[in-house]
């Protein structure tokens, strides 16, 4: 269990790299089991590769996405509305996984 330190999270890619990877990976697998695999792969490759997780305090995380995530998607045909709703689910999933990985309470 990683001992979470908000200050060390400032340099997250050096201090908490494996935890971040694990959280993203777990979220990816959950989403990939539930939704269209091509779309989930596309989001992983083209949208999340430009995303950044931030610690909000109180055991909560926020994922910041690049501008125009829908326009970044390549090779997948999906309506914008559907994309938005799945993207929201995906972000919730990553945020929850981050809470899990860092030992925070994940109950809403």
């Amino acid at each position: 269990m990683a001992e979470f330190d908000p200050e060390r999270f400032e340099d997250k890619y050096a201090n908490y790299f494996t935890e971040l990877q694990r959280a993203y990976k777990n979220a990816f697998q959950t989403m990939n089991d539930r939704y269209d695999s091509e779309l989930i792969h596309g989001i992983d490759q083209f949208v999340l590769s430009e995303s950044e997780p931030f610690y909000e305090g109180d055991g909560r995380f926020r994922i910041e996405l690049p501008d125009d995530p829908y326009d970044r998607l390549q090779g997948v045909v999906v309506g914008e509305e559907k994309f938005d709703s799945i993207m929201d689910r995906y972000l919730d999933e990553i945020e929850t996984e981050l809470q899990r990985v860092f030992g925070f309470d994940t109950s809403e």
Partner: protein, 120 residues
Amino acid sequence: MSTETEGGDDDLREQITNFLRRNFPQIQMHGGSAAIQDIDRETGEVSIQLGGACSGCGISPMTIQAIKTRMTKEIPEITEVHANTGMGGNEGMAGGSTSPSFPGHESSGGDDDEGPEAPF
């Protein structure tokens, strides 16, 4: 397109390779690979292609972000890192094929190519 540059490029290339090896051994561990596609010393931009298992299993986003963030910190000459994964690699670059061509290599006799076929 590959203009011969004076030795400094190799130097920088080696720094980048060592940086990746030192900080991201998991790229190799996961059976993936990282190839330096392009280095622009003028602008300090470097393009890296992550391949193999690095792409499409959920860990590449953070790997890419970590490489971008840390490499620009640790290697002062690098100002920007473009990392991409193997997916969607059919972006039509002018000129098409980037495979090396061998001048002077002529197919003699027109025998059938006996190389293994790439499964697509």
